[in-house]
């Protein structure tokens, strides 16, 4: 299946090879995704690849990994031109990639996944011998994951660690990490990147880190390459560049990060009250074990926690996607079952995580998706008939107001990029004049700077207007920046609560970890 037969065996070479990408161009039809981009990953360095969504970062590394065939340009490994036609070829040259989406099989154990990932494993698996080798490997690895647990039972952080361990297990010398910290707590992110950094410093690895977090660039990497709209926008040593310089390279203009100031709300009333909520996971195991909270108007309450501690199920209960096993939810003092009528009456809106799955109908158009809350009422409907003109007009207005990048109102929302799907949902959920309650879960997951900034400002503006906001997020920085009050969920229970002014970062981190 490979075109070239790789000649060198990387496992015998201790130092990572030098990877050079020379003048690479990749077109998809008329779209130029990569335009003459070069990058040099020196042996034993930690190199950052910065860029906004759609800047061509993923295309570049996918060309290196052999997923795509570049139209022009070549890849040099230790100065020799090499053809890489598949991830298998890349593996032969010691290049391994950790993807943004987890690539482990959920129903299998960690050990099974590791053995499966190996390209050269034998037909019959001698588990006794394999387990001995895996235990030895785990003991020598920079971080550990329990071998006998099925992936489905691992927390997001552990899964991410496993993805990196998998590459070390495959003896990859050049690691390409595609936004590896988006699901980790800040502590975990620092731990994982710090341990990888040690391996880099010891000359065992070269790392190409795709990210849009400047904090990670400045604290861990030595060199940075910036892409913008498929072109090389800049390159340099991290020490010599200020964050503002890098931001300018990324966005093409100098921009100060603007923050929407919070104004105190005069007349706070309790809006969302829930008591003793218990709910089960899909497999029937209890996920939320009796939590109670009150959110007032003009207040953002942040729920922090490592993913998989019950916050997903809690949000699903509040959004009407899951029935609780016990407990009561009240909105504006009235019992609330999250029916469509109640949502309309109490003006409850939601920005669930994974909006394409939880808040959109992917095959329906942008206009239809934007009308999901209002299509059955005047002016968008008359009796049982839909007024398409009104639906399209509203959508056109919202597309402009929320700068959704879509070819037309009739494009299926599933064809838009993640950021624009989120904007579509945001437009639907925040355009209403009178919002009482907004439930947002990881609203900025995987989005670029501009989108994150936009969503944050929209949420704060809503709060300033008197909306009660429940914000569930795995990004602690986001919670600390937006919340008025912060609650930590761990193993389905609220274990910490504090006003943001008195919040203790250390205590939050410890309670997130379950101590």
């Amino acid at each position: 299946m490979t075109i070239t037969s790789p000649s060198l065996n990387v496992s015998t070479i201790a130092a990572p090879p030098e990877l050079q990408i020379v003048n690479m161009t990749k077109r998809f039809g008329s779209l130029v995704a990569l335009d003459n981009v070069s990058l040099n990953l020196k042996p034993g360095t930690f190199h950052a690849l910065l860029g906004e969504n759609g800047a061509g970062k993923s295309t570049l590394v996918k060309c290196v990994m052999g997923f795509y065939r570049a139209d022009q340009g070549e890849i040099l490994i230790d100065g020799n031109p090499r053809a890489i036609a598949s991830p298998r070829d890349a593996h032969h040259y010691g290049i391994g990639m950790v993807y943004q989406h987890f690539t482990s099989v959920p129903a299998m154990t960690v050990a099974e996944n590791l053995v499966l990932s190996r390209y050269d494993s034998s037909t019959l698996i001698n588990w006794k011998q394999e387990m001995e080798q895996l235990n030895d490997f785990m003991n020598s690895a920079p971080f550990q994951v329990p071998l006998n647990l099925p992936i489905a039972q691992l927390a997001a952080g552990q899964k991410q660690k496993l993805e990196i361990l998998k590459q070390l297990y495959l003896k990859s010398k050049i690691l390409i990490l595609d936004e590896p910290t988006s699901v980790l707590t800040p502590g975990e992110a620092d731990e994982v990147l710090g341990l990888i950094k040690e391996q880099v410093n010891a000359g065992l690895l070269s790392v190409l880190l795709i990210t849009h977090k400047f904090r990670e660039v400045t604290s861990f990497t030595e060199e940075v390459t910036v892409l913008r709209k498929g072109k090389l926008a800049g390159h340099g040593s991290v020490k010599e560049l200020a964050i503002a310089d890098m931001a300018e390279m990324m966005m093409g203009e100098r921009r100060e990060i603007k923050e929407v100031a919070k104004t105190p709300y005069a007349n706070p009333q309790p809006v969302l009250q829930f008591e003793g909520i218990q709910a089960n996971k899909d497999n029937g195991v209890e996920a939320v074990s009796g939590v109670s909270l009150t959110v007032h108007s003009g207040e953002i309450v942040g729920i922090a926690g490592v993913s998989g501690n019950g916050q997903k199920e809690l949000v699903e209960v509040l959004a009407g996607q899951r029935s609780p096993t016990s407990g009561t939810v009240r909105v504006n003092g009235e019992p609330y079952q999250a029916t469509r009528a109640e949502m309309f009456k109490h003006k409850v809106f939601a920005l669930p995580e994974e909006p394409l799955r939880n808040a959109c109908v992917p095959h329906m158009s942008v206009a239809e998706n934007m009308a999901l809350r209002t299509f059955d009422r005047a002016p968008q409907a008359k009796g049982i008939l839909l007024i398409w003109k009104a639906i399209r007009q509203t959508a056109q207005g919202l597309i402009q107001q929320f700068s959704v990048k879509t070819p037309s109102t009739e494009t299926p929302v599933g064809n838009l990029s993640g950021g624009n799907v989120q904007r579509t949902v945001l437009a639907r959920e925040l355009s209403e004049d009178h919002i009482n309650l907004l439930i947002a879960a990881n609203p900025c997951f995987g989005l670029d700077f501009a989108a994150v900034e936009f969503i944050h400002s929209q949420i704060v503006e809503a709060r300033n207007r008197g909306v009660a906001v429940l914000l569930v997020s795995e990004d602690l920085d986001e919670l600390l920046a937006l919340s008025d009050r912060i609650v930590v969920i761990s193993s389905g229970q609220f274990v910490y609560e504090s006003a943001i002014a008195e919040a203790d970062f250390g205590a939050i981190g410890r309670s997130m970890a379950g101590h």
Partner: protein, 312 residues
């Protein structure tokens, strides 16, 4: 049809004996089809067409056994006919925007149609059946001897179940099938060909289902008629859910279904006339009950392959 047990000598003891015999006789086709479906579903595809495969297998086995005089060649022919139908299902169900349940229903109709069409000339003649292993020779009661005359195919099926469990756990190919069935994206990232793995799984499953058909026509009931399967292939699909996609539990579930099937005739033979049809319906009622008990909107089944019934 041979009577499951003679009641005159044994009295009420005939009932458990008949159920035991039913487990081993009637359970054999369930066992083969459910193991086949288990392999198929582990790879993320559903093959409802195994009902048609079962019929085609039964017909092919009977015809070849009659024409060549060798029942074992018949068994082989049943497997081969299963492979043929499996290739069609495996290819069709993996085309873009094709739903495997819809293809499966088409394959039920196709499989049974082709079996009826080609099987017409073989309804009358009598083909040499498979030899049986006599475990009941210690007893002087003919009913016991008859009940404990088990088929080598049953023994084969019982051996395949643990073998399959080991295959899924300790072979590279077993891991491939589970990876493809649970997370095709992950499998793709590892360079596994999803099409090939699923094709081979569907074909292997159909091969086993074909052999299940051979046990119908060459062992019990040991004739070829168009009503020979009476939905056993479809029930076996339900049985895989009941068995939580675990080959060993497929074995126990098949025995349970085989026993349930023998309940009606066994009770009839001891003179219970009322509710005869109700007892005959036992396997169907069992299927329905299992479906009701195992399905809940609030929880997902444990062990279900992640990609089962999805588009990718």
């Amino acid at each position: 049809m041979t009577a499951p047990a003679a009641p005159e000598v044994l009295g009420w003891w005939g009932v458990p004996l008949a159920i035991l015999a039913g487990m081993m006789r009637g359970g054999t086709p369930f066992l083969f089809v459910s193991l086949g479906e288990c392999i198929t579903e582990k790879s993320g595809k559903i093959n409802l067409g195994l009902e048609g495969t079962l019929l085609t297998g039964a017909m092919s086995a009977y015809a070849i056994s009659y024409l060549t005089g060798s029942p074992w060649l018949g068994v082989l022919a049943a497997g081969v006919s299963g492979v043929g139908l499996g290739l069609i299902h495996g290819w069709l169900s993996q085309q873009p925007r094709v739903n495997d349940v819809a293809v499966g229903i088409a394959m039920i109709i196709f499989g049974s149609g082709i079996a009826f069409f080609l099987g017409k000339p073989f309804i009358q003649p009598s083909a040499p059946p498979l030899p049986t292993i006599h475990l009941g020779d210690w007893s002087s009661i003919p009913a016991v001897q008859a009940a404990l005359a088990i088929s080598p195919l049953f023994v084969l099926g019982v051996a395949i179940a643990p073998l399959l469990k080991w295959f899924f756990q300790s072979t590279r190919w077993g891991l491939f099938i589970r990876a493809v069935g649970d997370s095709p994206d992950a499998a793709k990232a590892m360079g596994i060909s999803i099409f090939n793995v699923r094709m081979l799984s569907v074909v292997a499953g159909s091969f086993l289902a074909g052999i299940g058909g051979a046990s119908l026509s060459l062992y019990y009931p040991g004739v070829w008629t168009e009503r020979i399967s009476s939905g056993q292939g479809l029930m076996a699909v339900a049985l895989v859910i009941f068995a939580k996609w675990n080959p060993m539990q497929c074995l126990w579930a098949s025995l349970l279904f085989g026993g349930a099937q023998a309940l009606g005739p066994a009770l009839q033979s001891v003179g219970i006339k009322e509710g005869y049809y109700l007892f005959n319906a036992a396997p169907y009622i069992l299927t329905l009950l299992i479906m009701i008990l195992t399905c809940s909107p609030k929880r997902t089944l444990t062990g279900v392959p992640g990609a089962l019934g999805t588009d990718n």
